[in-house]
Amino acid sequence: METILEINNLYKNYGKIKAVQDLSLKVSPGNVFGLLGPNGSGKTTTLGVILNVVNQNSGDYKWFDKAPSKESRKKIGAILEAPSFYPYLSATNNLKVIARIKNTPYKRIDEVLEKVGLIERKNDRFQTYSLGMKQRLAIASALLSDPFVLVLDEPTNGLDPQGIADVRELIIKISGEGKTIILASHLLDEVQKVCSHFAVLNKGKVLYTGSVEEALSSKESVEVSAPDLAGLLPVVSQFEFCKNAHLNGQKIIVQLDQGKTSLDLNSYLVSKGIVVSHLATERKNLEEQFLEILSQAK
């Protein structure tokens, strides 16, 4: 299996609204792939197409290097938008329906309910569940058939901080088992915390795709500060690997060339006879990166 999912030139319109335009993506085995974008950027539509519940206008996609079929869907655990279950059935009976569809033995039901912490409520009807429990049951249902791939659409939506932390921990744990995860979210720190790769969508187009590591490492900056701030700035600016330096409050923010770190800057300053009172490497976070990508697109 070369690729888990490959999407080629996907288009989807809802009347005049272009929900997805010329979208192409590739997800490799073991990736935790974040689909990022503001609300209405086409994330859920894209997931709907690859899960065969939204018919695309043109373009195609492949699961596991093959044309999609109901058999490929059985190897995927997926939730789309809000958890969808029969409100009048218990968690166990809801999962029995899914187990039958996916040809999974019933003994998995208790295992996944245990995993998401719902085992004590397994005989209660779905309609009596809190939002967090519904969301956890959705994750349990996605895990039921022990699938190669998990597709999760806003899995922490509407959860309290504890619930969010639990779900994230669960995702990290599952990805540790070597599973591929495709995760749509508009929460950037969520993607930064759990994803290995990501794509940024806006107005149905892919603006950026790459690994989280790459996107962040090229954006390191160093903060320095010294008692004589005014004297420090010209010295720093003259450093041969300094791309850009500017004053920000009581600190100077320095952008260094690729491959250079705070260590290089510090030894340069020492050689100039300057002792700093503060030196810190600031990794740019995905949020700033994301906003930058979006603003470049405009």
């Binding site: 869907r73 329906v97 569809i101």
Partner: protein, 278 residues
């Protein structure tokens, strides 16, 4: 196919509303099918005008449960009630749309055809159960009231039970199609009720009886959905008023209904296939 039925069964087994509605429905069928003697008594005592129709015959002596006439009589009456069974089918379908479980079933690995066949298996079982029940009521009432209880008499005219099954099955598929088209439980139920009980009977009556339409455009009347299904079992009771009736199931009537069934199935499949289930 059994797997598909089992999936549907898990959905319904623990659904209390389903149990109550089907229970009430079968109870109603039983009560109405078995209360012939009471009805005839009522007619005798309270509906003097109707007595004239029977030309002086004591209506309570009418052999409505006589083998093999009981089969046409009972299936004709029982077929009037199937709309309540259709409501159950509609609820089970529109629930899947409202709760987005139809979509989730497909995400989980159902094909559109799997979903359709899984619902059809439920419709099949409901129709079969209904038919068996009517058979048992007919048998019971016949054994109590009939003068001729020979095996030959009992088991002749079984064609009406076949026609009854087809009648119920196709009507439920028709209701399923409406449910898929309209999607909103309440609206589908009200629409089906109005359509089957008023709109279509009135429309077909006008088409067949209006002097200007009769023989012309009026010829399409037998092909209306409800009318075609209804014509599988013709009105039997007029024979007691010495009128000519059709006392068999005609091949033409069955063919019309089978063609309609195929049309509904294709239409349902197309709708499931081509509609994005958002």
């Amino acid at each position: 196919m059994i797997r598909l039925f089992l999936i549907e069964w898990i959905k319904l087994r623990n659904y209390r509303a389903f149990h109550i509605l089907t229970g009430l429905y079968f109870l109603m069928v039983g009560v109405i099918c078995c209360s012939g003697a009471l009805v005839l008594n009522y007619i005798k005592n309270h509906m003097g005008n109707l007595n004239n129709v029977f030309k002086g015959v004591d209506v309570t002596n009418l052999p409505i449960y006589e083998f093999p006439d009981v089969w046409q009589n009972m299936t004709f009456v029982a077929a009037r009630l199937k709309i309540f069974l259709a409501f159950i089918v509609i609820i089970s379908l529109t629930n899947e749309i409202t709760y987005k479980t139809l979509r989730q079933n497909i995400i989980d690995g159902f094909s559109r055809l799997d979903f359709m066949l899984s619902k059809f298996s439920m419709i099949f079982v409901l129709s079969l159960a209904n038919t068996i029940l009517v058979f048992l009521f007919g048998l019971g009432m016949g054994l109590i009231y009939s003068h001729d209880t020979s095996i030959a008499a009992i088991f002749s005219n079984m064609q009406f039970l076949g026609a009854f099954f087809l009648n119920v099955f196709v009507f439920l598929v028709f209701a399923f199609l409406l449910g898929l088209l309209i999607k909103r439980t309440g609206i589908v139920i009200v629409f089906l009720g109005l359509y089957a009980m008023f709109i279509e009977p009135i429309a077909t009556l006008i088409l067949t009886e209006h002097p200007k339409l009769k023989g012309g455009i009026g010829l399409i009347a037998p092909y209306f959905p409800e009318k075609a299904i209804r014509d599988l079992i013709h009105e039997p009771f007029l024979k007691y008023a010495f009128q000519e009736i059709q006392d068999y199931v005609s091949f033409t009537d069955v063919s019309v209904v089978i063609v309609q069934l195929l049309f509904y199935c294709t239409f349902i499949y197309m709708l499931l296939k081509w509609r994005s289930n958002n």
